[in-house]
């Protein structure tokens, strides 16, 4: 089980969190201006990186706030420089 460091509550067990997937995906300001391919890229396509990956987590059974962490998707270790 992962030990996840919530920036507001400190380290807690993974079972308190829900996973939000790849971080840094910004909803396009004007979806109508996008082609179908660009919209598909925003909605569906993901980096799915093997290695260092920035992700969103939600402390669902705690403070219920969203935050971002960087984790290695092979070793499952969180990288220290992440906020």
């Amino acid at each position: 089980m992962l030990l996840i460091r919530c920036p507001y509550c400190g380290e807690r067990a993974e079972t308190e969190f829900s996973y939000g997937g790849e971080a840094g995906i910004v909803r396009p300001k004007d979806p109508d201006a996008l082609s179908d391919a660009e919209w598909a890229d925003y909605v569906f396509h993901r980096k799915n990186t093997k290695g260092a990956y920035r992700e969103l987590w939600n402390h669902a059974l705690g403070c219920r706030r969203w935050f971002e962490l960087e984790r290695d998707t092979v070793t499952y270790r969180f990288n220290d420089d992440a906020s």
């Binding site: 996973y19 997937g21 919209w39 598909a40 396509h45 993901r46 990186t49 998707t73 092979v74």
Partner: protein, 415 residues
Amino acid sequence: MKYSALSLLGNALTQNRNWKPAWRKPEPKSRYDAVIVGGGGHGLATAYYLAKEHGMRNIAVLEKGWIGGGNTGRNTTIVRSNYLWTEASLLYEKSMELWEGLSQDLNYNVMFSQRGVYNLGHTLQDMRDIERRVGANRLNGIDAEIVRTDEITAAIPHLNTSPSARYPILGASLQRRAGVARHDAVAWGFARAADKLGVDIIEQCEVTAIRRDNGRVTGVETSRGVIEADKVGVVVAGHASVLADMAGIRLPVESHPLQAFVSEPMKPILHTVIMSNAVHGYISQSDKGELVIGAGIDSYVGYGQRGSFQTIEHTMEAIVELFPIFSRVRMLRQWGGIVDVCPDACPIISKMPVEGLYFNCGWGTGGFKATPGSGWVFAHTIAQDQPHDLNAPFALNRFETGALIDEHGAAAVAH
């Protein structure tokens, strides 16, 4: 050597000293007509059907580890075709038809056992979904029936069908032609049959780059040198995004760990396959007597081929809820496989924006059952440079057109 009762007897009389390896270990050639990346069941089946159905003989299968060492050997071996949507059910049914003649076709016993699969319903909504799915299956010519609780109790006496259970069983769907197969034998059988047709199976050969020229694939760079190829078919499950990235392509898949478990061996106690969507576990008993158990994926993206303890706990809770008699059975082994999950829980079997490059990925948690059918349609796609009618709906561009095939939650099990 053709395997037969006679060859068995002959080798027994010579004290089994004359068995030959089931496939060669060739050095990679510098050039092939087609290269298949990924030596799992799907990749080996693709190479086999390319050689058998399409007459291509100058083919290599490149595998970074050993064949069948990835998800092919890390699943719960269940084979069924009772999917809801027509596109999906026809694809899985094609696979089922191939399964039914596979041992003869390959001259290798894949131990395909049509012992039936029950998908349990625990709520009124479960039962409505089951009725809808069974109806849809029948309209597509796939065997399916609804069984009542008293019939389930009679067939599987150890299953807790008591109305006082926390999630009482109200009924089930049953596909009698469904069952299990021995997953290692599937990889070995396809490898041996493909090798016989001249396919080079090259293990310990990791692809590190996909070479392209003017929007056309020209070959691959590997840990064992450069291999030129006119066509490259990639079927690498959890590592699909990694390979796609080498060709500058983005995919709509995310890779998650999925665990499977076997218990200590026991005397025969469970003659069929039980799956439960609501309690979320599935269980059968192998011919060696081990209970084979599976459940859900870990929520996060992971390539680590191991799963987390809370997932193990959830899985065991589900199994003990269904079968209280198994509460003191000890688990013997556990694996994590890396499954590439698509947003609509259906695979991508498709040409790619790069000419001569083909991907077969996104099978998520349910790829094993599709092994022969997946290889069959992928071989057609590669050989003819266009999809077969069966896999045309599974193109990569469905995420642009919106023609998704939404099997999430519809496909008889939660993903």
